[in-house]
Amino acid sequence: MLAMNYRGPFRVRADRNKPDPEILHPRDAVVRVTRSCICGSDLHLYHGLVPDTRVGMTFGHEFTGVVVELGSEITNLKVGDHVLVPFNIACGSCPFCQQELYGNCHESNPEATAVGGIFGYSHTAGGYDGGQAEYVRVPYADIGPTVIPSGMDLDDAALLTDVVPTGYQAAEMGGIQKGDTVVVFGAGPIGLMAARCSWLFGAGRVIIIDHLDYRLEFAKQYAQCEAYNFMKDMDDPVVFIKKTTDYFGADVCIDAVGCEAAGSSLQTITGRKLMLQAGSATALQWAINSVKKGGIVSIVGVYGPTWNLVPIGNVVNKGITIRANQASVKRLLPRLIEHVMAGRLNPKGLITHRVPLEEISDAYHIFSAKRDNCIKPMLIPDSASVAA
């Protein structure tokens, strides 16, 4: 089959000789992929920042597909069902899944206990091949995959596998109360969705901070929020936020950037160039310093598993609450499907590039280098054109 093939940092290609996946467990399914996206967090893999990312792996944790084969224990799906597949691989019965912490499943990732299994996200997240391919194996298929509701746009469905739940959970974890000021660091797809979802929780002001003008312009339209460039509109983002909140700070700060943040030479050199820490924690540093005393910092940006330079003393002194997790997609899907079907959220509005799977090297480069005003690239495999 045709599949993305990781060859090293900044090097990927589409190969036609990857063996088709097969059923390896009674609760597996095999899905023919119809839509697949490149996530901002895939870029961390692409840039070689995530340990145990092995050559030959296929990335991709945001995809939809048609069920073509089922394990013997799967009774809630049938061949031909068109499903969206949450990026979490979750057993549904371990103590963490029982608490709806589907991103923290204890039975899907042998290689690390800190995170559950994730499709196509290195061996640190379980070593599963992902959905940037024509076919993909889906473990615990009785738990994750959800039949796409009739009338839902396929592109919307694909973004319900990660971007929408992660953005929504970022806002939810912020504990936003009516009238709160919310600052979102990062105007990538997750940051945009987090900003949009902050309104659903009743935010009074939503401010988004980035350094790419085209993304900030996009944010103003898409998320109807204030948007500022930290390289042009201010000397110091923390002081800027303090000033614009009567010197109190924001009620909620959301880190939607993660380990590849720009804006601090020290963080960039030690985190991204020398890899002395698990990426650059600039956004998190700003979030902690910009939130008001007793405020909440919500983290959905991806960081590596080692360590980062963050002002933990200020967390203590300001009495900040930090909330963070991988999105629990299955928990959130029913409500998010309602929002999409009611028109309150427009996920497909984020997609700026639709690229054939064969041209995956170009798609990764365009997204990574921020070419052509790219916000969100979607991959279309040949197999998508087969009638569902």
Partner: protein, 171 residues
């Protein structure tokens, strides 16, 4: 009388689709929550799935007793990088030796990947793999600038080496 803050919020609900529909005063402290699901002896006795049978080597964190009920089969450890990975898994996830060794293994694996390609008769097109087609399409000026800078630096380096060799010979 409605105060200014309240009137601003009302305006938001008029202009922003869905404003406040998920507002919940009780959403603090918020998700993720630890819900009580019984004492340890009750929690640990959960119903486990059947075990996926390993066909190839699967490494597992030393913070757990064995492999999980399902696991990925993408790229089993092999070669020198595989040796490094096996070594890395002797250390816990809290240890820098674990993660830094894995990063080193990843870099070794890249070189192994090139040899593996050649062994299979495939010469990797590194320009294409790095997406330079797209770079040429969307940032032609930048590509030309980089190429020009590279050419100047290469010319300078070659000139320097030639001159140094001549000086050595003349001495």
């Amino acid at each position: 009388m409605e105060n200014l803050a309240d009137s601003l919020l009302v305006d938001k609900s008029k202009t922003i689709e869905g404003w406040g529909v998920d507002a919940d005063p009780s959403n603090n402290p918020t998700y993720p929550m630890k819900h009580y699901t019984g004492a340890d002896h009750q929690r640990l006795a959960y119903e486990r799935s059947k075990q996926q049978m390993p066909r190839e080597e699967v490494l597992h964190s030393n913070e757990r007793p064995g492999i999980t009920r399902v696991f990925g089969t993408s790229s089993p450890p092999s070669g020198l990088s595989g040796q490094l990975r096996r070594y890395a898994f002797r250390f816990s996830e809290g240890s820098s030796a674990h993660w830094l060794t894995l990063l080193a293994a990843d870099r070794v694996n890249v070189v192994e990947g090139i040899f593996d390609d050649l062994r299979r008769g495939h010469i990797p097109n590194i320009f294409k793999e790095r997406g330079w087609n797209a770079e040429w399409r969307y940032n032609r000026k930048g590509v030309i600038q980089k190429a020009a800078v590279g050419a100047v630096l290469a010319t300078a380096a070659v000139t320097f080496l030639i001159l140094r060799n001549r000086r050595k010979k003349s001495v």
